[in-house]
Amino acid sequence: MTHVSLKVNGREVSRDVEPRTLLVELLRRDLNLTGTHVGCDTSQCGCCVVHVDGVGTKSCTMLAVQADGKAITTIEGLAAVAEADGRAEDGLHPVQAAFRQHHGLQCGFCTPGMIMSAADLLSRNADPTEHEVREWLEGNLCRCTGYHNIVKAIMAAGATMRGAATPRAAE
């Protein structure tokens, strides 16, 4: 067993873990944060993306021991980040609110990873082109939506975050 101390959604967490424990296993199994999903075995789908020190990372491809000393934000903690910045809408992060408004999901399985990846992009560049959004989502697979409304939602969230008028909702 190896001891790890990290911050998850603002809360200090200390645990003894087997070194082979994945970060996503620590989150889902030990901390009951089941919003982070596992969609593949090959590090390709992006359902498991969380922020590690603010950077989008596949939690299925990181060991819990590698996250020692780091600050993790999961989908459960994203709204609180927006609250702290005074950007929350209805208790949601602007990206979450935009996914709801623009129907950026169908079954919802890929959605936590999509939203965490999108929030990472928009925190660096709140005014991406559609092409940049699509390129950014290379590591996030959705089997339902065809990406159209996902991209629309992210563009709209960018507009909200930089204080521009929100484009109309998808038909």
Binding site: R20, G46, S117, E138
Partner: protein, 267 residues
């Protein structure tokens, strides 16, 4: 995953010592190749030696005629580095096309070169520019570093410290991406070195990266896309899998090389 122990040494020499003491121990860099390998139970190390706690391994500096890039430098850091963007913009572009943003945030140049996946991108750079690979045991030349598929000149307990990458006079990188995995089906790095030599490195196509000498010869006599019209590459030694036949890969090599020539002429 099989169980293993974990160590996070504070220096590269200590890491090398841990590997020398236990032949079944293995280094861990960004984990973007090795953790998927462990998850599939394709490896069973006794211990992972995490290089992330070692200071000064993630640096990028100009050095003489090239760039010194530390082994733990992430793909993301290379892509975003103002030094790389100014001195060798095609290298920043190459890094920006590796995998996806999350892979680029964790994956490192040292891990990519040490792993030598036939479809990996950095080995093509190290081979084509004959970069120097500085390790815990000395130095290797990039031209002798990749003997075969997933093989390198490294000893099991030898760790890469940094690369010295000579900056070419001009360069173009063309990567024909598999639309699902984003790995190269075929990639071509065409360069004109500071001495005026034309070199053409190929990735993704064979068991390991190689120089396409037929293309280099044709472009030496005339640096124009048409010079490659009659040039063919033998498919005999190339990879064949569910994604592409060997013949298709052979066909793509001069096609991508032509695109490189056009881009270099336009600049």
């Amino acid at each position: 995953m099989y169980a293993f122990d974990y160590a996070k040494p504070a220096s590269l020499d200590e890491a090398a010592r841990l590997l020398a003491d236990d032949p079944e121990a293995k280094a861990l860099a960004g984990g973007q190749t090795y953790i998927p390998t462990l998850k599939q139970r394709l490896a069973q190390p006794t211990r992972l030696v995490d290089l992330a706690g070692i200071p000064d391994l993630a640096t990028i500096k100009e050095e003489g005629d090239g760039l010194a890039v530390g082994a733990m430098t992430t793909h993301k850091a290379v892509a975003a580095s103002p030094v790389v963007q100014r001195a060798f913009p095609e290298l920043a572009y190459l890094a920006s096309l590796i995998g996806d943003p999350a892979v680029r945030a964790m994956g490192t140049i040292g891990g990519s070169v040490a792993n030598n996946d036939p479809a990996a991108d950095y080995p093509v750079v190290v081979l084509t520019l004959d970069a120097t690979v500085r390790t815990t045991k000395g130095e290797h030349r990039g031209s002798d570093f990749f003997p075969g598929m997933f093989e390198t000149a490294l000893e099991p307990d030898e760790l890469i410290r940094e690369f010295h990458i000579p900056v070419p006079e001009a360069a173009a990188w063309e990567k024909f991406r598999n639309p699902a995995s984003r790995y190269a089906l075929v990639s071509v790095l065409l360069v004109r070195t500071k001495d005026g030599e034309i070199r053409c490195g190929v990735g993704g196509a064979g068991p390991t990266c190689f120089r396409a000498t037929a293309i280099e010869d044709a472009l030496r006599s005339s640096f124009a896309p048409e010079a490659l019209d009659g040039v063919t590459i033998d498919a005999g030694d190339l990879n064949e899998d569910i994604h592409a036949t060997a013949a298709y890969r052979a066909h793509l090599i001069p096609v991508l090389a032509k695109r490189c020539v056009r881009r270099m002429l336009r600049r």
